[in-house]
């Protein structure tokens, strides 16, 4: 029996159309838009101004505080302007717009593709380099990587867990990265282990990626302490809490972080970025993006510079089909619907999913029939039907008591509900309110 997490979960159709597609480099666009807030935490502060000349890898914006991340230029050229530009969700955000001229890289970056296995940096220097290079969680959450690697005093970490489950349907960027950059990921893992001073790492991979499991298992024999764990295909296994539970059978208590059970989780794509940052001194300014969908003529995995317009990636994958009704940044379960494809891809763009016609529409909501299927699929053991009801009725103290803040917003409840009730919509609303109330209380 393959391992998985203890409570709930669903198994939506996988639809991994772009699986096995070689990573293809996107052409460099003529202009890029770089938002200064591409991560969880404070937006970075711009350190360039209009008219400045930048190279690939030049620092554009500096982290504003501990939970923040540096932003580097993905192109060489001239800063055209700094302005508020609509992001994929349609929100105007401060962005640095650069007109591209050539492709000149900072000399400090090692552009060779040679594998560098030897790690000769002290743990604190590794963490500093990761912070300097602006590495954030590439699974989609974009939490600054150096924050997780700085274990708070009084807590101990004994195991590193790598998230390679890619449990979202359709997405294949992590899968393809493992197939093509397996060695680099192994070195990256060793670097993270050194930074955390742990001698054990577990890489959790879902069993629908057997080739990646075999490939990494072969490689792991050369790297002490790294264990590959094949996991049963079950969504949302990529949730931090679920992944730790699945890999090492430890459950994080309500409201706590992974470090509470001695674990730190990093995404496998992040681990590759860590390798490049530490061994090649390369900041994070490009990433793998899956472009896919049932109607997409050429589902692909692209290596794209941050700031490339979403529309260019779609064109490269065969163009936007005429019957497109919805474009999603990320996977179908937790991704965000995109307002305009003019918006750029950012550090957190794991995929672009094209949805056609009727599939994009929601069915009409029917009364709750109390079938309790939402409870049985909730990976946190919550009662989504009840959380929706108390949120609708604005009974916030009850919502808090029923642990609404534990919801990880995986969407399994809404996906499952036979009455097609928008459970998660209302739970999000409730979480926002209850969160506000809780914060006002501690002040």
């Amino acid at each position: 029996m393959l391992k998985t997490f203890s409570l709930g979960g669903i198994h939506p159709p996988e639809n991994k159309f772009s699986a096995g597609q070689k990573i293809e480099s996107m052409p460099i666009p003529s202009q890029v838009t770089i938002p200064v807030g591409q991560h969880i935490g404070a937006p970075a502060a711009a350190v360039v101004k209009k008219g400045d000349t930048v190279k690939v890898g030049t620092l554009l914006a500096k982290a504003a505080g501990f939970v923040s991340a540096n932003i580097h230029s993905p192109v060489s050229g001239t800063v055209f302007k700094i302005d508020k530009v609509a992001d994929a969700s349609g929100l105007k955000k401060e962005s640095i717009i650069i007109n591209v001229e050539g492709d000149e890289w900072e000399e400090s970056i090692d552009r060779s593709s040679d594998l560098v296995t030897e790690i000769n940096m002290a743990p604190q220097d590794i963490v500093k380099r990761i912070a300097d290079c602006g590495i954030v969680g590439l699974g989609g959450a974009t939490f600054p990587a150096h924050v997780k690697l700085s274990v708070p005093t009084g807590k101990t970490c004994d195991v590193l867990i790598l998230n390679a489950v890619e449990c979202e349907p359709y997405l294949t960027s992590d899968h393809q990265l493992m197939m093509e950059k397996g060695e680099e990921i192994m070195v990256g893992t060793s670097i993270l282990m050194a930074a955390l001073k742990v001698d054990r790492a577990v890489i959790g991979i879902e069993n629908n990626k057997k080739d990646a499991i075999d490939h990494l298992t072969n490689l792991a024999s050369k790297y002490p302490g790294i264990q590959i764990e094949a996991l049963k295909v079950q969504y949302p296994q990529g949730g931090e809490k679920q992944l730790i539970d699945a890999c090492i059978k430890r459950q994080i208590p309500s409201g706590k972080l992974p470090i509470e059970v001695g674990a730190v989780v990093q995404n496998v794509g992040t681990t590759f970025a860590v390798y490049e940052a530490v061994q090649k001194n390369k900041p994070l300014f490009e990433r793998i993006v899956t472009v896919t969908g049932k109607s997409v003529s050429k589902p692909s995995n692209f290596l794209a510079r941050v700031g490339t317009p979403i529309s260019q990636l779609i064109d490269q994958a065969g163009g936007l089909p005429a019957d497109t009704e919805k474009v999603i940044g990320g996977g179908p379960m937790m991704g965000k619907a995109i307002v305009s494809t003019d918006a750029p891809i950012t550090k957190g763009s794991s995929g672009i999913l094209i949805v056609k016609g009727e599939e994009a529409k929601r069915e009409k909501m029917q009364p709750c029939i109390k079938c309790s299927k939402c409870i049985s699929v909730c990976p946190m053991g919550l009662e989504p039907y009840l959380l929706m009801t108390v949120s609708q009725k604005a009974i916030w103290d009850r919502a808090e008591e029923e642990q609404i803040m534990d919801c990880i917003e995986c969407g399994s409840c809404s996906y499952t509900c036979p009455s097609t009730r928008p459970l998660l919509d209302y739970i999000r609303l409730g979480k926002g309110k209850v969160g506000q109330i809780m914060r006002s209380r501690t002040k």
């Binding site: 919805k326 619907a337 499952t416 009455s419």
Partner: protein
Amino acid sequence: MNTFTVSPSPHIHSGDSVKKNMYGVIIALLPTLAISIYNFGLGALVVTATAIAACLLFEHLIQKFLLKQETTIWDGSAIITGMLLAFNIPSNLPIWIIVIGALVAIGIGKMSFGGLGNNPFNPALVGRVFLLISFPVQMTSWPTIKNTFLSYTDVQTGATPLSVMKEALANGELPTDVLGQIPSYRDMFLGLQGGSAGEMAGIAILIGLAFMLFRKIITWHIPVAVLGSVFAFAGILHWIDPMMYAPPMFHILSGGLFLGAVFMATDYASSPMSNKGGIIFGIGIGVITVAIRVFGAYPEGISFAILIMNAFVPLIDKYIKPKRFGEVAKKK
């Protein structure tokens, strides 16, 4: 510029629907209907068709003229109420009584509480118990199973194993002697016993249960808790005094226990939300059923037991919570 649909995640749905679940239950009831027709012929057909038609009609009329809502009679739930009402009454019951039962089931049991998903009690049982109290004679004269196919109200009637046992024990007979006067366990399980239209055949109901478990319409918790607790409680009584109390297998195979445990107690709206709650609910039903059968005035107690436990559901749901993630770690 293209305009796209923008909505919050998740962006996909399982395709499950109220209809799929409800019609799944109806499919699960078909083996029972088949045995009912085999046993009682035309009577079973008339009773089932009447109950379904009356339930659909009353739901439609109430929605259209009283509530002024869009009618939702084809979601399958009124058909289930009709089938379950029919399976819980004798197959020779006159049509006008069935129609009254359907009115009470749909009107009082379901629509007055807000319709689909809001009924605190199992609507079919509300109808059934109303009829049992209002028409005790008609409701307790069950047709025997070896009648001609075309008989309906003109049918020959006889006692059910449960009523035979109740009367015999009251007269001081020994349970083991009574077992000789009624069908064997095997025959009872196969449905070769008298009773309400759809309650005789454990085997047909278990086939329906297997189908519902396979399609994930219900979970095993409530049926297993009901059957297990009936077996345990009746077993304890029988072990204490085998001269006074019938053996547990008799209680399992007789009356409407299977029908109640599998199809009535598992009604979504009137059963607890959590699995743990479902087990408590099921044990309550099992214990009350045996208590009524053994100590009460009625030979059968499953209907009352389910209705009584239905009333406890809000309390169970309030205090019995599903296992939360991280709960175990917290206690350590």
